[in-house]
């Protein structure tokens, strides 16, 4: 028996040729942005060595740029930005809660272990 209680959400995703032109324009813009960010990262990495005084700044800008890239991939390429807000939060909130906790706890522990190994001649 055919079920009548299921909405075919998949059919709602269609768009017209005119909309398509705009969407493609947006896709190429995001492409250019991602490429530029990657190029900037490589140039920074090639010219500024680890251990120099501005390295921490470069390191944090790497992490910042990575998050920007990730945001564009998830929100634009994966269309999460176009989904309903409740789905967006359903995906992102648990993930970030868990990952931020894990980063905090493991990096703190890692540095502690480093200190112990150093002071006890590991």
């Amino acid at each position: 028996m055919e079920r009548d209680d299921i909405i075919e959400y998949s059919l709602d995703a269609h768009h017209s040729e005119e909309q398509g032109v705009l969407l493609r324009k947006k896709i190429w813009k995001v492409t250019a942005l991602l490429t530029i960010i990657t190029a900037v990262e490589v140039l920074l990495g090639a010219f500024i060595k680890q251990g120099t005084s501005i390295w921490p700044l470069v390191k944090w800008s790497f992490i910042g740029l990575t998050l920007v890239k990730a945001a564009y991939i998830v929100l634009s390429f994966m269309h999460l930005g176009d989904e309903r807000k409740v789905l967006r939060y359903f995906i992102l909130v648990p993930y970030f809660l868990f990952v931020i906790y894990l980063i905090f706890i493991l990096l703190t522990e890692g540095m502690y272990v480093d200190n112990v190994l150093k002071s006890h001649g590991g």
């Binding site: 209680d5 909405i7 075919e8 959400y9 998949s10 059919l11 709602d12 995703a13 269609h14 768009h15 017209s16 040729e17 398509g20 969407l23 493609r24 896709i27 190429w28 995001v30 492409t31 991602l34 490429t35 990657t38 190029a39 990262e41 490589v42 990495g45 090639a46 060595k49 251990g51 790497f62 992490i63 990575t66 890239k69 990730a70 991939i73 998830v74 634009s76 390429f77 994966m78 269309h79 176009d82 989904e83 309903r84 409740v86 789905l87 359903f90 995906i91 993930y95 868990f98 990952v99 894990l102 980063i103 493991l106 990096l107 522990e109 890692g110 540095m111 272990v113 480093d114 190994l117």
Partner: protein
Amino acid sequence: MSGHASKQIDTTTLWGGKVSPFSTSYGKLMMWFFLVSDALTFGGLLIAYGFTRHDAQDAWPIGEETFNSMPFLGHGFPLLYVALMTFILIVSSVTMVLAVEAGHRMDKKGVIKWMVATIIGGFFFVGSQAWEWSHFIHGSEFGKVELVDGSQAIVKGHFGEIKNFTVIEAGEHHAKGAVVTDDLMHQFQHAVEVGKINDGIITLHDGSKAKITKEADHDMELIIKKDGKSNKVGTRIKGKNAEKMYYQAIYSGTPHKVIYGANLEQNEYGPQQYGQFFFFITGFHGFHVFSGVIINIIILLGVIAGTYHKRGHYEMVEKTGLYWHFVDLVWVFVFTFFYLV
């Protein structure tokens, strides 16, 4: 793309049953759930890497020192190859999103065109990774050396070519005065590893002893990675001094002074765990890319057969697209945390 998701529906209707509160189909939702769990796996791996790195901070290798080679061009190109790989993957992500867009317009030809491009990009990436692994496993010509004072150093510079071995003491296969010209590098590195080079005289497999004729090295630099009696971590030794210390160690006739390349037990780049994490993280990601390519091919066959066109929508392309973008997303993080910082 926006469609139903952006429609305003009052909450009673939305949560009252018969509609998805997420305004999305079952399949797409499940793909998202899978990706979240997969992202946790990769997150866990990268954070474990962070833990290990932070507890061995000084000895940890630096990306641009480890990965500075290009196919056919040799070395001296810090991070360029990985950047190229990143670019390939980003571009294949773009072609995928274009395939999805074409699907939303029911443009079958467009979907086929962009999916083929995506698959080609995927193969290029997997191939690049194969090269990267092979290069990582074989290592540099110098290897990592344990110097006379007990410190360990990685070595940068240009290794002078080995011309030949001239036999000065006959063994089972080689007569005195014979000139060996085959497989020189391999024999040389093996002899260094087992400590069979003493004062520039190499003992070959058959027991014969030979004099090594080798061109001079250029621009040699030793970077100390583990403290010894006189050299401390981070010290850089250049030029003639570096050459003297290097050859003093490898021509000492003592085994295990040099490590070439990488395996799961040891590697020339840094601590043991560095190699293990490299193989596991990039391997696990490469496995994802490979399965992504296979899934894309299967879906492409469906597109060509017209399965989705008959169905009235190309959501299957969108779902594999989600997976493919996710693979790209993971690589963005691997690139930053494994290679850049």
